[in-house]
Structures are given as C-alpha cells and as structure tokens.
C-alpha cells in the first residue's frame, strides 16, 4: 500500500526544474490493482519513479508500505526497495549478464541459496515461456522477450508493491492476457499493483480502478 499527500516533482530541482507532478494525493490499499492512465507527458513515469524510489518527490509526503520515505535512512530505503518490483519501459536488463543471471539478481541480493534461486528462476521463466533462453544475453532477445524477462525479474521475489510502465506494449495479445491474469492473481495474494498504459483495449478488457493524470495533475482517482 502507499499514500501520497500533496506530492510535487520537478525534473532538475524543485525551484528551476520542469514540473512533472503537481500536488498529487493518493491512497492505495494493500492488494489493490490500479491502472495509471494519461497521455504522454502527463507524469505517469514520474509517479512510478517516485513509487519505485528511483527519485525523491520535490515536496509533499510519500509513504510506501508504511515507511515515510523522506524520514527513512539510506539502509531503510534499500530494505524498502527489496519489497518493490518495477518493470521499466527500457526493461533495465544488464546486457552482459545472461537471462538467468538477470532474473536471479534480486534473489542473489537477498542472499538466497543457489539451489532455491535456480528453482525459482526456472519456474518463473517457464511461466513467461522463456525457459529455453536462460543462457542468452538480453541483446540476443526480441523486444517482447526482453519485456518478459523484465517482468519475470520484477515478480520473482513476490514484491509487496509492483509498478509497471507499459508492460504490455511489446507483447502480443495472448501474452498480454497471461500477464494481466498473473497481475490480478498477485493482487489477490496481497501485492499492490500500479500499471501505466496507453492500451485502451486492455484497460477495457481488464477493468479496474484507475488513476488518471493530465499535465502532472491528478484528474481521476478510483473512477
């Protein structure tokens, strides 16, 4: 779950930067699935970056999974990041590491046993249909395959909060459907999920409460 109160964010600093979010307040409970909608430049990616602790809000209060972000120490923020999964538009895969190692990375940072890591990686990669590409390097994969690897890495440690930026834009309809069913299953298990998308068809097919932004302002919440 997360709470935002009067949150603003500007690229390049709060005084001289370009405003990306203005006075946004939100309260999303545990296990909720939310679509994040809005045209390009509306502030969706900025909001997801704040929720995944990639950037700090310029002003306002951000509380994620019960932790007030501004008051948290760096080690506390690191612990919090281990409970947040993020799927980025650029996938964020390391090009010189195999698919297996990319997906295993979060578990290795949690010092899990190698046998357990291998089991988990094989299971999730089978689910995304890429168990035959474990030894490949990300540049050897198609865009859709890279997106599936990024999704697998984001969900392999069952995060309490999952944020995804256009996770279906490189997937075909069947794969997108499988992904949405998995997201809803994760939400039922207690993961709070926010998915940013431009894909009206998939929003219509999988209806859920929405957050809509326009020019950095919140124009619809839970509508």
């Amino acid at each position: 779950m997360f709470r935002l109160h009067d949150v603003s964010y500007a690229y390049g600093g709060s005084q001289t930067g370009v405003a990306a979010l203005s006075h946004v307040s939100l309260d999303v409970a545990q296990g909720e699935f939310r679509w994040l909608l809005g045209p390009s430049g509306a502030g969706k990616s900025s909001l997801l970056s704040i929720l995944s602790l990639e950037v700090q809000a310029s002003s306002g209060m951000v509380e994620i999974l019960g932790v007030p972000v501004r008051q948290a120490r760096r080690a506390g923020l690191a612990r919090l990041r281990r409970r947040i999964g993020a799927v980025k538009q650029d996938f964020g895969l390391l090009p010189d590491m195999s698919v297996f190692d990319n997906v295993a990375l979060p578990l290795r940072l949690q010092h899990r046993a190698e046998a357990e890591i291998a089991h988990e990686v094989h299971a999730i990669m089978k689910w995304v249909g890429l168990e035959h590409r474990l030894d490949a390097l990300p540049p050897q994969l198609s865009g859709g395959e890279q997106q599936r690897v990024a999704i697998a890495r984001a969900v392999i440690y069952r995060p309490a909060l999952l944020v995804a930026d256009e996770p279906t834009n490189a997937l075909d309809e069947r794969q997108a459907g499988r992904l949405m069913r998995m997201f809803h299953r994760l939400a039922e298990l207690g993961t709070t999920i926010v998915v940013a998308t431009h894909n009206d068809a998939i929003v219509a097919k999988y209806p859920a409460p929405t957050i809509e932004l326009l020019h950095g302002h919140l124009v619809r919440d839970h509508g």
């Binding site: 995944s52 602790l53 990639e54 950037v55 700090q56 760096r74 080690a75 923020l77 690191a78 612990r79 919090l80 990041r81 281990r82 409970r83 993020a86 964020g92 390391l94 010189d96 590491m97 195999s98 297996f100 190692d101 990319n102 990375l105 979060p106 290795r108 940072l109 949690q110 474990l134 030894d135």
Partner: protein, 314 residues
Amino acid sequence: MARQRYHDGLALRQALPGRFLPFLVGSMAFLAALALAGGIAAHSLSQRWTHGAGAVTTVQVPGPTDPATITAAMGQMPATRIDAVLATIAATPGITDTHRLSDAELRALLAPWIEQTGDPSLPLPAVIELHTAPGQDAAASLLPRLQAQAPGVLMEHDSVWSDRLAALAGSLQACAGLAVLVVMTVAVCVVMAATRAGLLTRRQAIGLIHALGATDSYISARFATRVGLLALWGGVWGSVLALPMLLALSHLAAPFTAMGDAPATTPDWRDVHAWSALLPSALLWMLVIVPPAAGLTGWATTQLTVRAWLRRLP
C-alpha cells in the same frame, strides 16, 4: 553453452582489471619500502651515534699510580690518581658506562708509536672510556673535578660531532617520512581514480542493483574487497622487488651502521641466513608490513570513494 555467472552483476573483474592497479600500487609500495628503509637506516645511525662509539668520552690519566691530591671530598683516605679519578667518575650522574682500557688494549692501541720509540717500557697513561646518557653534558662539569684530584688529566669527547650527526640523521628521517607521505598520497589518488573509473564502467549495473535493494555498504564492500586484494597483491610485489635492493644497500652500508660487525665480503647467494642477517629486523618487519598496509589503504580509500559516489543515487 557454459553459463557465465556474475554473482551480482557488478562484474568487478571488468570494472577493476587485475593488472593496472597492482602494478601502480606495487610501484608505490616499492618506493615506500625504499623511503621507509632510508628512515630506518637514519634512525639506526642516529642511535649508533647517540648511544654508541660516537658518544664516547675518553679520559687520559698520566701517572695513574702516583698519589692523588687529597681533597675535602675524599676525606683523608690515601689514593692513587687513577683510583681518585674512577671514584669521582662513579659518583657523577649521567654516566651510563665506564670502561678502563687494560694494559694489553692500550699497548695494542698505541703499538705503532711504541714501536717507533723502540722503548716498550715507556710509561703509559691510564685511559678510561665513558658513555654518557643522551642529552647529558656530564663530561663538561667532570673535568675540573678530575683535574683537582689528578692534575694533568685530559678529556676528549665527541658529543659535538655525534649531536650534529644525530641532527643530520633526524632530518634524513623527516625526509623519509615526507617521502612515505607523498607516496601514500599518490597511491590514494591512484586508487581513487581507478575506483571512479570502475564505478563509471559499471554505473548501469550499480544503478540497477541499487534499485533492487542493494545497500551502500554492500556495493562499497564489494568494490573495496576487490581493490584491497589487488592493492595487497601489488604491495607483495613491491616488497619482493624492494628486497634485493635493500639487501645490496645494507651490504654496502654495513660499515657505517649497527651492522658494522657483519662480514665485508658478499655472502654466497645460496646462503639465505647470511643474507637475512644483513637486514636489520626493523627492515624485515617493514617489508612484511608494507603489503597489508597497501591493502588496507586501498580498501579504506575505495570504501570512502564508493560511498561518496553512491550519494548521488536516491
């Protein structure tokens, strides 16, 4: 296809290659070892000049068995001149050691002159060597008292020269310390530059594992362990390369240092014991300490550099 495994994506073997840093740190360790050896040698010379033969005061007592002049301090006890002189010296504070040369030692010392005169029965003075504590000027006040009891007593002391040489040794030690400081500063700068280059090489991976929840201490420890080990390895090579040079210098300097009793001939190259005897224990310890000191310096510098760099991440 064999899967290449990076434990955590940092790929430090790529970020911090295993040749460049050990070579540079090894060079620094080599220079530091030489500078430290210079400092230790200067200290050794200073000790020798302050406490050893250089600080000897020589007292000559002509007619040693003649009766001494009776003074109030001696009461009415009859004494020879040499007994009176020895008693006065023994009662003087600041004198750490006294040695009266035996007849045989004296004749050996004066053999060239005695042979020239052709008279072996020539009366000889008694000669006493005094060692004074560093900084004490006991000899200056001693002479008038000795001359009061044994007129004609002569005293020669080399403390003026030993003090000057000790001051020279002190300045040499300061220069060696400064050289070590400069070498360490350069080594720290080299490690910082290498670490920053490594951070830039792997900045994408660092950003990713930071976003996945890796702590600053985890990332800095990974870099610091790698750099510390490379610096330790470089330090080992620096010490190993410095060893033959220090052995050669010790061999050349043996007549001027505390190792003056060492054989002047070059030991057989297979005789490890003879070679190791050439090096003072302080030098041997220094060579042992340089590698871990290099490793520790590399580790600490990297910790600080990485932590400062990570501060730019949220």
